[in-house]
Symmetry: D2
Subunit: 424 residues, 4 copies
């Protein structure tokens, strides 16, 4: 399904006056040129949605289905299309293989193209056994002590690259779930070496203009150790692979209290931050809606990202993706809320007075440093988001529009209550 553009315009119209007044209000504090700049940046910013995020998520204790879930890759792309029409920020899809192998590559490309959606990073899966697979990943994949399992996992990743090439993707994200549940289960040095060797084999098959993005995570699904447990390990492996290999940061993949923004800054200073997975969490890899738990932290991270994008030419442009789970919310509404939170944090970071901050830092005026960051953060930047969307033809209030247009109801009518999307 697609939304008629006219419907969006009609929803926007009544609120335009109030919006313009709010936008004017911001000009009492920030210069017109800064506001223009921020609005333009917001319009340009695009976040990939993963193909597995359009259906209901779940926990090991169960899953509560949602009506109207997409039953095919095409329907998933259509769902992203709806979100993109409303938000103008979701112009990319990140495919997960083998959950979403396109049957007709050309048709899928055309569909995506017609919706303004590009193919971002490809994701492989070596943490589950696929029906009929020769080797099990029960004891690991790229780092397994079993050579045949390693080879199968390497082959799978190469296959994912091949599919991605056809679709026009430009990067492969490897999340290596390999790990141990018990002390002694494997030798740390052995599996690390295997992981390095396997990654190098995949790296060799990477097309010239592609990037290899290496994710890290301290625990889950393994609960004693994980082969790539932290940014340091990912960074070391990326260096071992070569200059097209980078570290990917997922917000939920850290130990309690980790200073993630510092990791972001460190990696960008080294030119090794390749991608970013958004979500939020209070305890572990909770995969909650972005910005729903720690919005100030998200702002601080964007503060480093903005700084890096402006000051670290050595770092490539980043692959942005939302990586969340949707246990009790309509997944599309959840994604719309996530996109809003991302843009808010980005806009606030863009408002930081960097010259003043530099001066305060150089004078060790700690109080003022904090004031400068909080001034930007405490600003209500939502008018800037609305303006950006208004200009690009999106909905000023995407969530409200989604509800008023009764999208979920339409999807259920179209697809029924019982379809279950592939994914977790």
């Amino acid at each position: 399904m697609r939304i008629d553009q006219q419907e969006i315009r009609e929803l926007n119209n009544p609120g335009t006056d109030t919006h313009k007044r709010c936008l004017e209000g911001l000009k009492t504090v920030y210069s017109e040129s800064l506001i223009e700049r921020v609005v333009n940046r917001l319009s340009d910013f695009q976040v990939a949605l993963p193909s597995w995020a359009l259906g209901a998520g779940g926990t090991r204790f169960g899953r509560f289905s949602y009506g109207g879930e997409p039953g095919s890759l095409e329907q998933k792309i259509e769902d992203i299309g709806v979100i993109h029409q409303l938000t103008k920020t979701a112009g990319a899809v990140s495919l997960h293989i083998p959950w979403d192998i396109p049957k007709d590559v050309q048709a899928v490309k055309e569909l995506a193209d017609s919706l303004g959606i590009t193919f971002d990073a490809m994701n492989s899966n070596t943490f589950q056994d696929q029906e009929g697979a020769a080797e099990s990943y029960r004891y690991g994949s790229l780092s397994s002590v079993h050579q045949a399992a390693r080879e199968q996992a390497v082959e799978h990743n190469i296959e994912v690259i091949r599919i991605g090439e056809q679709l026009g993707s430009g990067s492969l994200t490897v999340w290596l779930a390999d790990g141990a549940n018990f002390p002694g289960q494997y030798n740390f040095q052995t599996v690390l070496k295997h992981a390095e060797d396997s990654l190098k084999k995949i790296y060799r098959e990477l097309p010239e203009d592609w990037k290899l993005l290496i994710e890290y995570k301290p625990y889950e699904p393994n609960f004693y150790s994980t082969v790539i447990q932290d940014w340091g390990t990912s960074f070391m492996l990326a260096n071992a692979c070569g200059e097209k290999a980078f570290t990917l940061v997922d917000l939920g993949h850290h130990l309690p209290n980790t200073n993630i923004e510092q990791i972001v800054a460190t990696l960008m200073s080294q030119g090794k931050l390749g991608g970013f997975h958004f979500n939020d969490s209070k305890y572990g890899d909770d995969d909650l809606t972005v910005g729903s738990v720690k919005p100030y932290n998200l702002f601080l991270i964007f503060n480093e990202l903005v700084y890096g994008m402006e000051n670290n030419p050595q770092n490539p442009s980043l692959a942005w993706m939302i990586d969340a789970s949707h246990n009790i919310k309509d997944p599309l509404e959840d994604l719309i809320q996530s996109l809003e939170a991302i843009l808010i944090a980005y806009a606030q970071a863009l408002l930081v007075d960097r010259e003043a901050l530099l001066e305060a830092q150089q004078g060790s005026d700690v109080v003022r440093c904090q004031e400068i960051l909080q001034d930007a953060y405490r600003t209500d930047v939502r008018p800037l988001l609305r303006e950006a969307r208004l200009r690009s033809g999106g909905a000023m209030y995407p969530l409200q529009a989604y509800r008023e247009l009764k999208i979920r109801k339409r999807l259920i009518e179209e697809r029924g209550m019982r379809v279950r999307a592939t994914g977790l």
Copy 2:
């Protein structure tokens, strides 16, 4: 399947001499009467195995099946029977409803009885929707804002009590997974009140000699808040229900770094510790083999349990249960390892010189206090476990016996590779 007792004897025989020598060795350090006392206590100690623990466990990222999983409640009880024959410590089963509703109560009782297995605490399930249920627990059960969902959950718990009565159980464990994934999702005070009211309704249906065990957990499957988040909340609710209501401690249900042994001591001092779920973890509710990650902590907890059992007549006898998951180990082997770890910690705690400890504590001789605990902990108590098993007809080396008797192979032959046990 059952093991021929003769097989166990034959496995024990060759090692008896060495065993006796090791046992003698302990007598150079500990008095004969103390050793006798410990061996007797070990023989008496029985831990319930839950009916869902005989099959493979899993995570939200997948599940790797195990051959020979039990396909029925009867087969689950038989599996426990095997473990009990080998260890003489697993003389009870804890049923989970509706996963394991007995079809023929009398037959199940007879089977259990013939294996020396009693029916310990019953467990209800209101964290998953059952096929055809009128109400969904998506937004909670006993604490739900939806009255019909609450009523259904109360009814279910009462049904579980009824089943338990027929089987000869004496307690109901309520793990209330109810919680919120997002700030604002519910009103804390409202759901707490609902939880209290629902628990009181269940409590009213409790047979005279039964106990209600209220579990707590900080997070998972909900990732912002849980209605019964900690021992304080459970304790408050248990007090509100009445004198047959108690708190149940699950080792994995705590925030990072929680001092669990202090909670155990506090609850016992108040006569409100009702039950105990064993497992181990490094990060969260990892549900790993008992003693596989933090054995000293297990010892410290047993140190409090032993103290309480000796000094707190106000506290009832405890319901002991293993509550672990088995992702990559043969579940029966995992349980045997868990039982061994439990007995080791228990034996070490029994060896603590309590008189000397009291004296050292009264003199604030901190160094000596530590020495006394560590003296007991550093002792190799495995000969005591072997002696206890030898006397009760179990296997001196249960895991080794399990392997030499090729139990798993026999189970696969009997049940096949593809059965999947009910449970998570």
Copy 3:
């Protein structure tokens, strides 16, 4: 020193027009009556500053002094007076004994009175040995196994009550640092019993209209266990003491990831939340400027406080205090930033549309629940704070005013560079 009121007026004048425009802007979104209500509540809100917070803080690794630190209780009260003049929110002082025993009670009362400052909760200190004390608190105080130490600690608390009575205070805060550094150091049940007995002895000496506030903390300065480790223990002890005893929540006194707002809601539902210590932290009891690390969390806590103040008549009015440390900031600037963050969170919580929230909660519209909270949180409420201050004669921009009036420079001139305030 005191600020001439005329100076404040002159600083406010130039910005008044812009301020009024911003305030008008808020009226496009919120009703005039709601705005009036919030402004009035903000004006009424008063937070106590502790007498030890006016000098530089430190860590175990060192302390960096600040010029112009107050050298006497009188100077500390004057410092609070300055902050109160600027913010109109710091109208109370919380004394710490024996650091700040008034020499001339009457003079001190008159001084405070002349500055509009009242005497909030009194704080005792049994975590340090005082010069010449008969008993050491090395191994504990109120819970010590040594009777003489317990008695000395009880006596000290009673003395603090007596001083507080003379000053017009109405509550005693007991932070019991007692704990163990090593397993086995003390018997958990014994020290808990001692703590309870000692608190009851103190409670008995409490004047009729006083409150006893019992603080809890999981660790530090003891690193294995703390006698009152969590809200559950504090709550249990408060119940044991009687209806004038309450739990006090300090934001920094929790294990990683604790859901503090739920604790607040639970305690208020039971009528047992007595006081609140503000600060912020990323790792432990970091004692950082309020709102500097987790402002959304502060808002969520205020959301529960506001709800409780409106719906829990069973709960007493709360003792509010800032309890932070100032290692690298001018303490007065730090406190001004803290007060600002507190008022912002409070204002946002007052803006939450409670009717809509209730409706969304009753319908389990999780997405909308989140929207409602975030709508309030994302609002720039600073104009409301300015308006409140403008009306009460404070500075619209207190921090800016503090700097423009060169207060620190004046204090250094008056007191010198080398004075060191009593405290940590």
Copy 4:
């Protein structure tokens, strides 16, 4: 003071028979050659004691002094001498400058030499301001935005190297406490660059055969961020410096739940683990007695260390040091307990059947892998420690000997009750 060797012999004599019997007992399980090998390794193992660890430690909340504290560097070395006489494991001292600048280098060397003590890694201090220093480290040292502070800190480190050269030390440990208490306080990339530049300047002054050991720590004394926050950052900086620079691991310097043994294995595989600081903790950098909280974890770490020492020729020999604090224990007793715990973990790790483990790992026999580790861990290895000490002339029971010889009493008589050792 020194212990008369004859006194030790007399204390050992009565227990020798029992000891021999216990040792024989171990031979029923382990081969004589393995036992010989372990005993020899234990005899060879030497751990440095830091010069600041001989006096009482403290927290920010206070410090409880200990009688007989050493008042000079000479007395500190004598204290280490006593511990070394008893344990035969403390044959090195690690000096902290400027707390323990030797006044007469030659005399100090001779004293140490006469006690069998060598000079291990030198420690610099740029986290406190020294009386009369030109620059303050309030806002950082090696990474400060203030060039003069950086230069002073670099100079100080070079001075420490010079002192170390005279004493015969071979390495410099840099613990960089630099960090921020608040978001925005400094620019992450700027301070990281400064730290790198400063370390390189120090590195350039390193004698040919010296090592530079770079410590990391996530937080404290700064509570928002630390410049060298984790092993990844330290490793990156060590690589930037050159092949004589290494990472130093302090057990207490990690976020909750960190898998430290994996970090150890990773660093050794890269030839970059340079040193190791022992202590134990439950919450943060608690600096408790080694092995008092998580002994199994210590064993797992030693398991990796032993593996690395045998299989990683690319890694240098390690600098071992105890880095603990002594708030409520006699520091010498605390250190003796720490040394015992270290040797126990080391002995257990040496008992691990590596061939069997390799085989079990290659077959993914997870249950057996765990059994192999736990078999070693559950063994009571204390007879091996006693044997090693007996052979080298130490005390079989060092703590008991320390008490029977009334060392503390003698030290108090010699030095008085009121001396306060330099240090924290």
